[in-house]
C-alpha cells in the first residue's frame, strides 16, 4: 500500500536526515488518505528538494529560493490541491528568505517543510544561515563569523499561523506534525532539525537528541503569540531546541482574503469583459465584429 507514493528508491548519503523526511511525509499522506494526484510538491534547490524525484506526486521543481512564490501561484489558482513546499535551510532562510516573510504574512495555505541541517550540503559543505557562529566546516577555511537566523521566531514575527519544529530522529512525531500542518487552514512552517553526516561535523544526531525539548509537555501549541515566543526564547537560552507544534491559529487565508476560496474561474466570459471595457473605458466592444 505504501508504494503508491514511491516513485523511485531515494538516494541520499548514508545517515542523511532526508530519509526521515521522506518516510514521515509518505506516511502522513497515507494516513490522511490523500491521492498522489491531489498533492503538489513545490521544490527548490538543495539535497532535501531531491524528494520530488522519489515521491510519487505532482511536482513543480523550481529554482533556488523561489519555492513559496511558485507555491502561492498554485494554491491561489487551485486550492483543492495540497501544496507542500520543500526547501533546505539555504533555500528558505538565505536566498529565499524574503519570500518566507511575505508568504507567512499573507497566510497562504501552504505546508512549508524546511530541512535544517545547518550546512550547504549540495555544494559540499559551506556554512548556511543556520550554522552557529564560530563553526568550522569542511569547505569554509575559517571560523564562520555570522550569527544564525532564528527560523521559528522569524516565521512567528512574520505572521505565520502554524509554526512547528520537527526532528529527523523521531519519524512518528514528525509525521504527526506534517499531518497537522497539511490540515491547517493557513501558512505552516515546519523547521525540521536534521544533520548532514557528510559535510556538517558540527551537528550530529546524538547532539540533537540530547538537546531537544518536546513542547507539548509545556502546554504547546499556543494560540497566544507571546506565550509561544517566550517559550522558544526560554528553551533556546538553555541551549536547547524546542520540538513540536509551537503555535497554531486560525486566521483568514490568502485565498479567502483575495476572494478565490474555490480558486480562479478558468472560463472566459467575453460579455463580462465587454461590460468592463464599456464601464471603464467607454469602449463598446460588442458593436464590433469579433475575429
Amino acid at each position: 500500500m505504501i508504494d503508491i507514493f514511491e516513485r523511485s528508491k531515494p538516494r541520499w548519503c548514508p545517515g542523511c536526515g532526508d530519509f526521515s523526511i521522506y518516510e514521515a511525509l509518505k506516511k502522513a499522506f497515507l494516513e490522511l488518505n490523500l491521492r498522489p494526484e491531489e498533492i503538489v510538491l513545490v521544490c527548490g534547490i538543495g539535497c532535501a528538494t531531491f524528494i520530488w524525484s522519489y515521491l510519487n506526486t505532482n511536482a513543480l521543481k523550481g529554482i533556488h529560493g523561489r519555492v513559496l512564490p511558485a507555491a502561492t501561484g498554485v494554491k491561489l489558482v487551485n486550492p483543492r490541491l495540497k501544496v507542500i513546499g520543500i526547501s533546505g535551510d539555504g533555500d528558505a532562510y538565505s536566498i529565499g528568505c524574503s519570500h518566507l516573510i511575505h508568504t507567512a504574512r499573507r497566510n497562504v495555505e501552504i505546508t512549508y517543510i524546511v530541512v535544517d541541517n545547518g550546512v550547504f550540503g549540495n555544494t559540499r559543505g559551506q556554512p548556511s544561515p543556520t550554522t552557529p557562529i564560530y563553526s568550522h566546516l569542511k569547505n569554509y577555511p575559517r571560523a564562520w563569523p555570522e550569527k544564525p537566523v532564528n527560523p521559528l521566531l522569524l516565521a512567528l514575527m512574520s505572521g505565520a499561523t502554524f509554526v512547528a519544529q520537527g526532528f529527523v530522529g523521531d519519524i512518528d512525531r514528525l509525521k504527526e506534525y506534517f499531518k497537522e500542518a497539511i490540515n491547517h487552514k493557513g501558512f505552516s512552517l515546519i523547521n525540521v532539525l536534521s544533520m548532514c553526516p557528510t559535510f556538517n561535523p558540527v551537528r550530529t544526531i546524538r547532539e540533537l537528541r540530547e538537546r531537544i525539548v518536546y513542547v507539548e509537555e509545556l502546554g504547546a501549541p499556543f494560540e497566544n503569540l507571546k506565550n509561544a515566543v517566550e517559550m522558544i526564547l526560554s528553551i533556546q537560552e538553555d541551549g536547547k531546541y524546542p520540538v513540536g507544534i509551537i503555535y497554531r491559529n486560525r486566521e483568514p487565508t490568502y485565498n479567502e482574503l483575495v476572494g478565490v476560496v474555490k480558486g480562479v474561474d478558468l472560463s472566459i466570459n467575453h460579455d463580462r469583459i465587454a461590460e468592463i471595457s464599456e464601464r471603464e473605458l467607454r469602449l463598446r466592444l460588442l458593436q464590433k465584429k469579433y475575429t
Binding site: 494526484e37 529554482i63 501561484g73 498554485v74 524574503s98 480562479v264 472566459i268 468592463i276 471603464e280 475575429t291
Partner: protein
C-alpha cells in the same frame, strides 16, 4: 489635414496631468483624434514637466513637429521647444511671471489672479482659455468636470475657473481654431488600458507584479478588473516573486501574466529561464524605460531589446513581440497568451513608455474572442505527456489534478515525463525538442507587415512606436517620388525568415530605434544582405521621435 498641437509647461504638482485629461476628453467628446506625450521627472512635486497634446482630424500616433499653443504655468525654463514654435504660435504666460523670448505671439494673462478669485488653480483657468481657443464648448468641458470631480464645492470652484478662463479667451478677441468638431465622440485611452483589457480577452486569470514605473498602470487596472472575471491579481514583494508566482499559477492551469520595466525584467531573468525549461507558458510585459540600472525611470527608450531577446543562461526558447501601433497593444497582447500556450514558453511583450502612459484615440478595435486554455483530462490517458513534442496546435494543457496522471514540471533537465535525467543524450534530445518548436514562428511570424513600396531598394526597419513617426516622415518623402519600403518589425524573436527574403535585394537600409548602441540593428544585421549600406537612426534623449527628426535622417542618409 487639420491639426493643432498644444503644450502645457510647468512643474509637477501644478495639475498639468489633470488639465491634459480634461482637454483630451473634451476633444474626444467632440469627435477629434488626439495623441499626447508627457515629459515628467521622478519627483512628485516641483520638477519641470510638460504635456504635449496633438489634435487632428486624422489618425495620429506620433508626436507633432510643431507647437501651436504653448501655455506656461509657473516660473520655468521651457525646454525641448527649439524649432517647434513659429510666428503663428501663441505663447500664454502668467502676467506675474517673466515672458520667454520666443519669436511668436506672447500673451501675458492673469491666470494666477483669476484662479485666486474663483478659488481654483491656474491649470483650470488655462483649461478654460485653451478650450476657447480650440473651439470646444464650455458645456462640454463642464460635463467632463462633473464626471471627474465628486466633491461639490471643488466642482463648483472648478466650473467657475473654467468659465473665467473661457472669458479671458473671449476678451483677447482671438479667433478659435476651426477644427472639424462633431457630435460623435471618439474613444481615447492609454496603452495600459489596452494591455490590461487584452489580458482579459486573452484569457488571463492571474497577475502578479511589483510596482515599477512605467508599468504600474497595468497592475492597477488588473487588480480591479481580474476579480470581476473570476481571476486574481497580486501585488508581491519583488519581481522574483512575481515571475515565479505567475509560473506556479500557470502550472496549476491559469493563463498568467506579469508586467514590469527594465530593472524588473533584469530580476525576472531566472524565472523566464524556468518558464523556457519547464515549458510553463507565461506572458511577461516589459514597459521599457531609459538607461541601465535605475536610469531615467520616467523617460522613453527602447534599450531592452538585447535583454528581452536573450534573457537567460543556456539555450532557452522564448518569443519576443514589439507591437507598433496602439491597436496592436491590444491584438498582440492577446496573441501573446495564445503563443505562450501554443509553444509552452515565455512570451515577452516589449512595450514603449510613450504608448503605455499617454493618451491615444482608438478606432476600429477588432475584438478577439479566444476560447482560453483547455485543460487536459484523465480521458487522454496513455497519450498524455507533460513534455510532448510540439504538435502544430494548442494542445490541452496538463494541469493537476488529472486522474491517473501526475504532472511533473522541472527546472532540472528531464525526459518527456518530467523525470530528472542528467545524461548527455537526454539533454541533446530535449534541447532540440525545445528549440525545434520555435521554427514555425520563424516561417510564419505572428505579425508581419511591409508598408510602402515593396520593390524599393531602400528600406526602413523600425521597432515599436517608431513606426508611426517613420510613416509620417515617409509620407513626405514618398511624395517626392523616392521609393522606400518600411518594415515595422513586430516579432523580434524568433526573427522572421521573411526579413531576409524581403530585403535580399535592398541596397540601403535604415534601422530606426531608440537606444544608444543600436540593439535592433545588431539583432537584424546578420539577416541582411552583406553588401547593403546600413544606416542607424537612433535617438536616446528620453523622448519619442518626432517625424521631422526621422525625415531629416532619411534625407541626410543616416548617421551610419
Amino acid at each position: 489635414m487639420k491639426e493643432v498641437s498644444l503644450r502645457i509647461d510647468g512643474l509637477t504638482g501644478q495639475g498639468i496631468e489633470f488639465a491634459t485629461e480634461v482637454i483630451v476628453e473634451g476633444c474626444s467628446l467632440r469627435g477629434l483624434n488626439v495623441c499626447t506625450f508627457r515629459w515628467f521627472p521622478t519627483i512628485v512635486r516641483g520638477g519641470y514637466t510638460y504635456s504635449e497634446i496633438r489634435i487632428s482630424d486624422r489618425k495620429i500616433q506620433a508626436r507633432s513637429d510643431k507647437i501651436d499653443i504653448l501655455t506656461i504655468l509657473g516660473e520655468v525654463e521651457v525646454m525641448d521647444a527649439d524649432g517647434l514654435l513659429s510666428e503663428n504660435s501663441i505663447v500664454v504666460v502668467d502676467e506675474e511671471n517673466s515672458a520667454p523670448r520666443f519669436n511668436c505671439r506672447i500673451l501675458k494673462l492673469p491666470l494666477k489672479k483669476t484662479s485666486l478669485e474663483s478659488k481654483t488653480r491656474p491649470n483650470i483657468i488655462a483649461v478654460g482659455f485653451i478650450s476657447g481657443l480650440l473651439g470646444l464648448r464650455l458645456e462640454t468641458i463642464s460635463k467632463i468636470l462633473e464626471r471627474k470631480i465628486s466633491r461639490k464645492d471643488l466642482l463648483e470652484s472648478n466650473l467657475r475657473g473654467v468659465e473665467a478662463g473661457y472669458r479671458i479667451f473671449m476678451d483677447t478677441g482671438l479667433e478659435s481654431y476651426n477644427l472639424p468638431c462633431s457630435d460623435s465622440p471618439k474613444n481615447v485611452l492609454q496603452g495600459s488600458d489596452l494591455v490590461a483589457l487584452a489580458a482579459l480577452s486573452g484569457g488571463c486569470k492571474f497577475y502578479a507584479g511589483y510596482p515599477i514605473t512605467p508599468s504600474t498602470g497595468i497592475m492597477e487596472r488588473l487588480v480591479k478588473w481580474l476579480p470581476e472575471v473570476g481571476g486574481v491579481a497580486v501585488q508581491v514583494e519583488d519581481e522574483l516573486s512575481a515571475v515565479n508566482m505567475v509560473i506556479g499559477a500557470s502550472y496549476a492551469g491559469a493563463r498568467a501574466m506579469t508586467a514590469t520595466s527594465g530593472p524588473g525584467l533584469s530580476l525576472m531573468v531566472e524565472g523566464i529561464g524556468l518558464s523556457s525549461m519547464a515549458e510553463i507558458p507565461i506572458v511577461v510585459v516589459d514597459v521599457q524605460r531609459a538607461g541601465p540600472s535605475t536610469g531615467l525611470p520616467t523617460a522613453h527608450e527602447q534599450g531592452d531589446i538585447d535583454l528581452a531577446t536573450h534573457p537567460s543562461h543556456g539555450d532557452a526558447p522564448r518569443i519576443v513581440l514589439a507591437p507598433s501601433t496602439i491597436e496592436e497593444y491590444y491584438s498582440m497582447t492577446v496573441d501573446a497568451f495564445e503563443l505562450a500556450d501554443r509553444y509552452r514558453c515565455p512570451v515577452i511583450l516589449l512595450l514603449d513608455h510613450a504608448y503605455v502612459m499617454n493618451y491615444f484615440t482608438l478606432e476600429g478595435l477588432q475584438v478577439s474572442k479566444v476560447p482560453g486554455r483547455r485543460l487536459a483530462s484523465g480521458s487522454e490517458g496513455a497519450t498524455l505527456q507533460v513534455y510532448p513534442n510540439y504538435s502544430g496546435s494548442i494542445d490541452a494543457f496538463p494541469a493537476p489534478p488529472i486522474r491517473g496522471f501526475l504532472v511533473v514540471a522541472s527546472s532540472v533537465e528531464h525526459d518527456v515525463r518530467g523525470l530528472s535525467m542528467q545524461d548527455g543524450r537526454t539533454h541533446v534530445e530535449m534541447s532540440l525538442k525545445r528549440m525545434e518548436k520555435m521554427k514555425e514562428l520563424e516561417d510564419q511570424p505572428i505579425s508581419w507587415e511591409v508598408l510602402g513600396d515593396v520593390d524599393a531598394v531602400e528600406a526602413v526597419i523600425s521597432i515599436g512606436s517608431c513606426r508611426c513617426a517613420v510613416e509620417e516622415a515617409l509620407y513626405k518623402i514618398r511624395k517626392t517620388g523616392r521609393k522606400i519600403m518600411h518594415i515595422p518589425l513586430k516579432q523580434l524573436w524568433p526573427l522572421p525568415k521573411k526579413l531576409e527574403e524581403t530585403l535580399k535585394d535592398a541596397e540601403r537600409i535604415y534601422v530606426v530605434e531608440q537606444n544608444a548602441s543600436g540593439q535592433l540593428m545588431n539583432l537584424v544585421s546578420s539577416k541582411l544582405p552583406k553588401r547593403v549600406e546600413l544606416k542607424s537612426v537612433k535617438k536616446f534623449d528620453g523622448m519619442p521621435f518626432r517625424p521631422r527628426e526621422i525625415h531629416q535622417e532619411l534625407m541626410d542618409g543616416g548617421i551610419g
